[in-house]
């Protein structure tokens, strides 16, 4: 597919954007509003609802605002821990699912908030650098702790395992990065940055799949399963990894890293896609089986990677066999879902 074709497909998918006729006038109106249009820091702006009240009135209003915020925070906490789930949840919603989604929102946000400090870490010896990485690692560990303290709803079982894997690797990457930074090892620092980017990208995507998960129609689910199967079949590098002699991975200068990265992307994208738009109830059981087999394939790929790193030829062969079997099951699971009338 060339650039023109990609452009056409993307434009069709996103659709045309007609600029709203009154948007400019709304922006102008907001600019003229002193609350919005004042060009100074927010801390210097007196809240407009306090103007006209005396000092005591302002303090009372501020106290009221603090109390409201505290009440909201307590409410959020109680909701997250489940106390308020039953009354808040709309009819037909499983509280365990909403609780898991809410936990993912919070942990994903915590990690996102920790990232900017590390982004400004640009030179060796910056005293803010290692503490910022430590804060980020704590955010990752918090997410892992939350997952360990909860049991995922069946719908999220496979993606939960993927998220745990990425979180664990993120901690290792951060620890290795800190060591490389202290040693001023440019190559390892850059490698760590790249690995961190890949892991956090994967996490952000998987978190979005959980948070935005909603049911598909039967037709849409069958199409999605068929499409994901087609991606795997059409993935040349995936087939190479499954078919080639494992010894050739070690013989190649670049090993089989590219093939491993490609098949992992395909498998994780499939799991994420089938969570983001999950199976309608009639496909709940075969859908869960398909996800479990996709996860087994993903784990076999990780086992291949570990064996390759360790130079363990027998382990590599065994993991490749597991991968082949898991992909066979994925194919059969997909076919049975697609064929169901």
């Amino acid at each position: 597919m060339n650039e023109t074709q990609i452009r056409e497909r993307l434009r069709t998918a996103v659709g045309e954007a007609r600029y709203p006729v009154n948007l400019s006038s709304r922006i102008e109106a907001r600019l003229k509003d002193p609350a919005d249009g004042a060009r100074r820091s927010w801390s210097g702006i007196r809240a407009p609802w306090l103007v006209g009240f005396g000092r005591m009135g302002a303090i009372a209003a501020m106290l009221l605002a603090v109390l409201l915020i505290a009440a909201l925070a307590i409410g959020m906490h109680a909701w997250r821990t489940g106390d308020l789930n039953a009354p808040l949840a709309p009819a037909g919603t499983d509280p365990a699912i909403r609780q898991y989604q809410a936990m993912t929102v919070e942990d994903d946000q915590l990690l996102a908030d920790a990232a900017p400090a590390v982004d400004t870490c640009n030179y060796y010896g910056d005293p803010k650098c290692l503490p910022a990485v430590a804060i980020q690692t704590r955010a990752v560990q918090q997410w892992l702790n939350d997952l360990n303290a909860s049991r995922p709803p069946a719908r999220f079982a496979a993606i939960d395992a993927l998220i745990r894997g990425h979180l664990g690797r993120l901690i290792s990457v951060n620890n290795a990065w800190a060591v490389a930074y202290q040693a001023r090892n440019d190559t390892a620092v850059t490698g760590g940055d790249n690995e961190y980017g890949a892991e956090s990208d994967a996490l952000e995507t998987l978190a979005a799949d959980v948070i935005e998960a909603s049911p598909r129609t039967t037709d849409s689910y069958q199409s999605a399963v068929e499409l994901n199967r087609a991606y795997l079949v059409a993935c040349t590098k995936c087939q190479q990894l499954v078919d080639q002699d494992p010894a050739s991975c070690e013989a190649q200068a670049a090993g089989c890293w590219d093939e491993i990265a490609t098949i992992r992307l395909q498998l994780e994208s499939s799991i994420g896609d089938l969570v983001w738009g999950f199976a309608p109830s009639r496909f709940a059981i075969p859908g869960a089986r398909l996800q479990a087999d996709l996860l087994a394939a993903d784990q076999a790929v990780y086992a291949m990677e570990s064996a390759l790193k360790a130079g363990d030829q027998a382990g590599l062969q065994a993991a490749q066999d597991l991968l082949r079997q898991a992909l066979g099951r994925v194919d059969a699971d997909s076919a049975s879902i697609v064929r169901t009338i």
């Binding site: 060339n2 952000e204 738009g277």
Partner: protein, 175 residues
């Protein structure tokens, strides 16, 4: 003689009308960016409004010789990121739809619906590069300026994003 340097001076000095005259021609492209990045038009409108207000508040720091378009697009793109991160509502308001849920993208063919879903599943940095390059038709140079990376890095990020979107980027020609 171009009026832009005069308007720029006035806008930097705090003239709102001059600022609006400068950004007005850029608003449609900023809105287009927001529509590509977000799921709804109302969210896109919010992102553009907030982005322009932030641009105004920080306009005193804008370098007069810099290019205004990538500067504004950077701010709007960041605003889109903030909008997406504000996810409490998506969880609180979501309820289970029945099996026969009607797809809001019913007018699109299934492949386009899937592509749109896949686009929204990309991390922000990869989604924005695709939207800037393929939906806004920016050059890699301008994509790089907007994202504050080199044109080469913009191109390689685009390649990775296309691959992740599973559009098989066999050919991404040099410019």
């Amino acid at each position: 003689m171009s009026l832009a340097p005069t308007m720029m001076r006035e806008a930097v000095a705090g003239d709102q009308e001059a600022f609006m005259l400068l950004v007005q021609p850029l608003l449609p492209v900023a809105y287009r960016l927001a529509v590509g990045m977000l799921r709804s038009q109302s969210a896109a409108e919010d992102a553009v409004q907030e982005g322009v207000l932030k641009a105004w508040r920080h306009f005193g720091r804008f370098r007069r010789d810099a290019n205004l378009r990538p500067w504004l697009l950077t701010i709007v793109a960041n605003e889109c990121r903030n909008q997406r991160r504000n996810r409490w509502w998506s969880v609180i308001t979501r309820s289970e739809a029945p099996d026969d849920v009607v797809d809001t993208n019913a007018s699109l063919d299934p492949a386009s619906v899937d592509l749109r879903h896949a686009l929204h599943r990309l991390p922000h940095d990869q989604r924005v590069v695709l939207i800037l390059r393929f939906y806004l038709d920016l050059s890699y140079e301008e994509v790089g300026q907007t994202l504050r990376i080199s044109a080469k890095a913009a191109k390689s990020r685009t390649y990775r994003a296309v691959e992740r979107l599973r559009l098989s980027p066999e050919v991404i020609p040099d410019e």
